[in-house]
Symmetry: C2
Subunit: 463 residues, 2 copies
């Protein structure tokens, strides 16, 4: 089984919550197989001015390959909750619906559907858990990385950002998918070799303290490593940072024209101060081309502070805080029934509502800047702007626009779309004035009508 196919494994249909399967059986038994509309969206933003949609590719791969293996069916049979004829029906199960989605790398806002699934209700329901799992987490990762990249590019300089987060991320799937999401958001490379292979990402790395410590002297380690990797980045802070820098300078003097070390890495202490002192030592020795990389507990705020302090840092290795989106480790994402059998549906529970029916998002521009989004009903015309939802799957098959896209194209799309956002959304702080997402008159009317109908139905049921 090829590596990237792991998630298409024989039991992928079991990557779901049990209740999706019990509800599926109930729908099957009740003969409820009319078309449902489900929206996947985020209810609110906390400490983010926008989200960067991500994870659609894995969602579509899943829907294309969703099936129940014999092994999965045997397991379900053991649960004593499923009828043999239902399990028989599951053995032929496939996703046959339509999917509408915002392209990966597009900024999105609360209430806007990132994915809209239109399918027989049981199929759409079953997919909820995996779709939420992948799109929530990947959108979270891309959104965090977009901020880190924003901070690192302060003043228009494209400083390098590398993902060093694998060791403290939540498992292997997180490490793979986040490395991909980070790249889409503008991160330049990852240390994660498996992610490099799976997605064709640039991989990068320097050296660890343990390598230095295993040698009798720091200088021996530097010489050996750069002999093997002449353009490497040397980690200089194992014992004393500036002593480490002086050793690099001594090597340059020894090696003359053969000296090709690309940079040094600082991983502890006062990074701003040490970067300045290191820069001075290197420059005084004529080593203006030797770059300074920094790592150690970095996030967008620390990077911004370092650059504000004038730290001459050329690249950042960012680990745990980006890798776990530490300040905001989950999004308030949901997957809500918006329609069934041609009728709009919604939930009335306080603060857990949704927009009924199918819809489209229109992004409206002024002078090249995105000014507001209008959520309209699916068949409305007359709203100027760019529609965001594409039809990416028809009857369970990908459409042309739903085909897998080269990652570099997604990355370019993300950079272009993020740059179109109003400047106030590019700040790391919370923008006082949030981006406007409004409902069209028709959508507003549908919302009110649906709510009124539901209240009426409740009254009838109770009377």
């Amino acid at each position: 089984m090829p590596f990237t196919d792991q998630l298409r494994s024989e039991t992928s249909a079991l990557y779901t919550d049990l209740y999706q399967l019990t509800m599926l059986q109930a729908y099957w038994r009740e003969g409820m197989d009319e078309t449902a509309v489900f929206d996947l969206f985020v209810r609110r933003l906390t400490d983010r001015n926008y989200l960067l949609a991500c994870g659609l590719e894995q969602a579509l791969e899943y829907l294309e390959h969703l099936s129940f293996s014999d092994e999965a069916l045997d397991y379900l049979d053991e649960q004593d909750q499923f009828d043999p004829s239902f399990l028989e029906w599951l053995s032929d199960f496939a996703f046959t619906g339509n999917v509408y989605a915002v392209p990966e790398g597009t900024p999105v806002f609360p209430d806007e559907p990132i994915v809209e699934v239109v399918a027989p209700i049981g199929e759409a329901q079953l997919a909820e858990t995996f779709l939420l799992n992948q799109i929530t987490f990947q959108t979270l990762a891309a959104s965090k990385a977009s901020r880190v990249v924003q901070a690192a590019h302060q003043g228009g300089t494209d400083r390098l950002v590398a993902d060093f987060g694998m060791r403290r991320m939540h498992g292997t799937d997180a490490a793979l998918k986040a490395a991909r999401a980070f790249y889409i958001a503008g991160v330049d490379a990852t240390s994660n070799v498996a992610a490099g292979k799976a997605y064709g990402l640039p991989i990068t790395g320097t050296m660890a303290h343990s390598y230095i410590e295993a040698h009798d002297a720091e200088m021996d380690a530097f010489r050996e490593f750069s002999d093997l990797y002449p353009e490497t980045i040397l980690l200089v802070d194992t014992y004393d940072t500036l002593d480490g820098v002086r050793k690099v300078i001594a090597m340059a003097e020894e090696n003359g024209e053969d000296f090709r070390i690309r940079g040094i890495r600082l991983d502890s202490g006062n990074l701003a101060e040490l970067a300045k002192q290191s820069r001075r030592l290197l420059d005084d020795a004529g080593l203006e081309d030797v770059m300074i990389f920094a790592s150690s507990g970095l996030d967008e705020h620390k990077i911004a502070r370092l650059l504000d302090q004038g730290a001459p840092i050329d690249g950042f290795g960012v680990g745990t805080k980006m890798g776990t989106s530490a300040d905001q480790p989950a999004l308030d994402s949901v997957y809500k029934l918006c329609g069934y059998a041609g009728q709009p549906r919604m939930k009335l529970s306080a603060q857990k509502s949704n927009l009924p029916g199918r819809k489209q998002i229109i992004r409206q521009y002024e002078d090249g800047t995105a000014r507001r989004d209008v959520i309209v009903t699916e068949d409305e015309n007359g709203h100027p702007g760019a529609p965001l939802l594409d039809r990416v799957m028809t009857d369970g098959e990908r459409t042309e626009v739903g085909a897998a896209r080269p990652l570099d194209a997604v990355r370019e799309h993300a950079a272009a779309r993020v740059s179109e956002l109003p400047d106030r959304l590019h700040t790391l702080g919370h923008s006082e004035e949030s981006y406007d997402v409004v409902l069209s008159d028709e959508m507003e009317a549908r919302l009110n009508d649906t709510r009124a109908d539901l209240h009426e139905a409740m009254r009838e049921e109770l009377s």
Copy 2:
């Protein structure tokens, strides 16, 4: 490929940071293959009074099966950094070292090695990323869940706790491994069907709002679902919680002796108030046996508050906040070189130090309560108490004590060891008086000697 074997896939050796591979080549080229000692430990605790060690089983599976497939070697070959004869050597690579570890489900504290790897330096180095990735995340998950279970069992009542977190956890591996870690920590069941299958965990679930909404009336949905699943738990808050409860009561009156509904679930609104009102309605109707389950943004603090308010809740569905360990989404875990070629090693960088050499942890008890841990050198005798580190692998093969253990045994071990901790560590708040972890005189002397030797060596190198 069987499902639980996913991580033994042909490319598992690529689940690493690139620098582990470049360092491995450097060690190979330099002929450095003497034995290294690496400790995996957590440097400090934030908002936790103890950690529950978890993830060893996956770490050992990885070390047992670690190898480079042809596909992996081809990928490395494309990177233009690796010598063909090194890649040839990798094709026969296997982990041949010894491993010492604290059993899964054991409470641990800062500086205590959870795993100690003793192996040829390149082998031990390569394993760093995967071991940190799995043990950090799983220990994080078990530690968070231990607090949630503690809160739910307030007053000595074993209220149920179910993991509902898959949808917002960080990918599929996180959802699988955390469900296992939660079970070890005392969580009773998971909604994640794949985790149920992979690890034999009890799986559970109720119904979603969308199921109710897809029916014309809430009562129809209740009747259909309970006809199929007579002992189900009905979600009552889709439209109006107490109206929902009254419908359950009406069903009980309709069905008489055949009524077997196990409970109701509340998922929005003022849970304490709604639980009390629901309990009253149910009790007045003679339905004392119908349990009340609650979900919606729960964590240990919210559960404790609900119970403090006297909410008559019998079980909790806990999702995102436990699933992402939201208040603390990573541990400050590290994997540090402590010895090489028989010599103790350490890093001098400020605040990033480690204890040199091999070691043992002795847990000392008074009247059945754990009073303090002493970190001793590996060959010390004469410290009363229970040693925590077992030898789980010898020459790359599991020892008897390192064999996979039944999950229920691990869960029982965890419950017993957590209950032995001093009461002050069982509070959800930060215990003012932290648990004592001290160094033996011999360990203290080794630390001082190693530090002095390193300073001396630095002086010599610079002079």
